[in-house]
């Protein structure tokens, strides 16, 4: 956890106590490659915010612990945080988010995470979950729109997805979307076996389907392997990576050559996209003496997800309300747009009592010479 150092001058009437927040992070588990920078981004944001006046003068006191992507451990940590009277929790993966969604509703603790599954946006289903970025389904819709446009219609799409509810989350919605918006696309999905050393089997099935586009809903390493296999087989296929593989890790792991030309759907603008909202990050990094080049997309994600939560807290306090879970939830639902300086999609995140979908717009990038080059800033379905 980060310990609250000196106290900032509190101008809040109620309290100048630090605000306890619980962070459930994957640092050493299966998704540690992205979980670690995500967590670092959050902690960096908190540090920066605390150093710059805090949340209405109050510091954020984050207790951050690794759960190694093991759900029982996440539940244990959550109970620990509840016991520490946190006002909100930042989670991470699909597993822990699902496992805790009911508990956070019972305990009335707003919960954000790196899991952008569609059902979480429905306050009826998950009243305390907030999805900061466009959902996987929205990303899938954007991807399909882009493919339809890029191909001029009539293309076949193969969806390669992690073999789990996380991977399958956008699959059915994608199919429905093609129907709904009358896109002229063929569509077939394939589960990616975990721990595979090649995806030639899937590619050959995609090939027989006639697919020119492969949408991947998985993390970076397996996606990179698909890119390598496409290159080795000289296949004419374009990968469209969603969120968790739509990042520089994908490019680095595949190698610039194999990654060249593939498309990355990424709601959070990487540092290289130089959005207005990157300004504070650059300031902070300069202070810390860190090279912005080393900062990945997941780090930025962490920063801005924490930012959204902090803004909600600030609003609650500024409205003169006690900072509790229900009040924070109400603030997030009613405060209007939260500006992210163009980092998340087109920039604004807004929740309502009817929907906890923060945004539907996402950036689209292409791997060019080992870099993420922005094709479109705020694509929406």
């Amino acid at each position: 956890g980060s310990d609250g150092g000196g106290g900032g001058g509190g101008d809040d009437a109620d309290s100048d106590e630090p605000i306890p927040v619980g962070l459930i992070a994957d640092l050493t588990g299966a998704t540690g490659d992205v979980g670690t920078p995500y967590n670092e981004g959050m902690l960096a944001y908190i540090k920066w915010r605390n150093a710059n006046g805090g949340v209405e003068g109050r510091e954020i006191d984050a207790d951050s612990n690794d759960y190694a992507y093991e759900v029982p451990k996440a539940e244990q940590l959550y109970k620990q945080y509840v016991n520490e009277d946190v006002v909100a929790v930042q989670g991470w993966g699909t597993g822990d988010t699902e496992a805790l969604s009911k508990a956070v509703a019972n305990d009335e603790l707003p919960f954000m995470s790196g899991s952008f599954a569609e059902p979480l946006t429905d306050p009826e289903e998950a009243p305390y979950n907030f999805v900061v970025a466009p959902t996987y389904s929205d990303q899938m819709r954007v991807a399909l729109n882009w493919i339809a446009e890029d191909s001029g219609g009539g293309a076949e799409v193969a969806v390669f997805h992690h073999d789990s509810p996380f991977g399958e989350a956008p699959v059915a919605d994608g199919e429905a979307w093609i129907e709904e918006s009358g896109l002229d696309l063929g569509y077939q999905s394939y589960a990616m076996p975990a721990g595979s050393q090649n995806y030639v089997g899937l590619l050959s099935q995609a090939q027989s389907q006639g697919a020119k586009y492969v949408v991947i809903q998985n993390v970076a390493s397996p996606a990179a392997l698909v890119a390598k296999d496409i290159a080795a087989q000289n296949l004419d296929m374009t990968i469209v990576c969603l969120n968790w593989c739509g990042n520089e890790l994908f490019i680095d792991t595949a190698g610039a050559e194999a990654a060249e030309g593939h498309i990355l759907v990424q709601p959070f603008a990487p540092m290289s996209a130089e959005k207005e909202g990157h300004g504070v990050i650059n300031e902070y990094l300069e202070e810390q003496g860190t090279d912005p080049e080393t900062i990945g997309t997941s780090w930025v994600q962490g920063w801005y997800v924490m930012h959204v939560m902090a803004e909600g807290m600030a609003y609650t306090i500024s409205e003169g309300n006690e900072l509790t879970g229900p009040n924070l939830r109400e603030s997030l639902e009613t405060m209007g747009a939260i500006d992210t300086g163009g980092v998340i999609g087109e920039g604004n995140i807004e929740f309502s009592a009817e929907s906890h979908r923060g945004s539907t717009s996402t950036g689209i990038y292409q791997a060019q010479d080992g870099e993420m080059v922005e094709l479109e800033a705020g694509a929406t379905p």
Partner: protein, 290 residues
Amino acid sequence: MSNFINQLAYGLADGSILALAALGFVLIYKATGVINFAQGEFLLVGAYMFFTAFVIFGLPLILAVLVGVVVATLIGVLVERLILRPMIGENPISIIMVTIGLSALLKALVQMFYGTRPQSQPAILPRGSVEVLGATVPLNRLVAILVAAVVLTAFTLFFRRSRHGIAMRAVADDQQAAMTMGISVRRIFAMAWALAAVSALIAGILLGDISAVDQNIASFGLLVFPVVILGGLDSVPGTIVGGLVIGLVQQFTAGYWDPGLATVVPYIVLVLILLVRPYGIFGETRIERV
């Protein structure tokens, strides 16, 4: 047809690497009766050792491999000396647990030094591909098959020809009796662990090159179980057959059926084979006579 050849080549390549990974496992089992749950982490450590020598220290390829071999040997011997030796003669289940602890430890050590981010490593196997009967077979897979074949043959010969083979089996059968024959149980154990570490290193280098140098390499270790059970826990030729069978079964499942099933099909095959042959294809039957 070309597609089939393609799948075959990939399946064989994965299978050969599996066989290499399983070889170390079988050596340890054969000599010490220990089921090594840390085999996957041995691959991981192997891949990172080589990465360190090759990329971080920038050594030439051959030298980097040699350094890797030395370090792997050292690690194998250390593991044996510090962790397994005190456990000699204990209940096999307790020893299994120790190797589970070891796997947690090794993985954590890699994380401490290298983090969880995948490391980029320049290609070491040739990148191009050759056309075989209309199929595009990448060279790196062919080389992987070749390397695995050479290493496996070398090991098989070593055990056939040298009396260490018999000594190893003797130790596995009855440690006390082996001691009374002047066979140094410690030395045999150390040798088994060192050789296992070396074969894991080679498998780890190959894996790192064809996929990526990252934590996922460790999960490859789990597949070793169906491989060795299929071939027979204590059979070196069995690892080769088991590795190839599992590699191909996975490949064809992914290529012609439901790719997601590729993760469970090996286990289903394993159960089926065990029902017919309770000691795997080449495994030694446990002798029970009264």
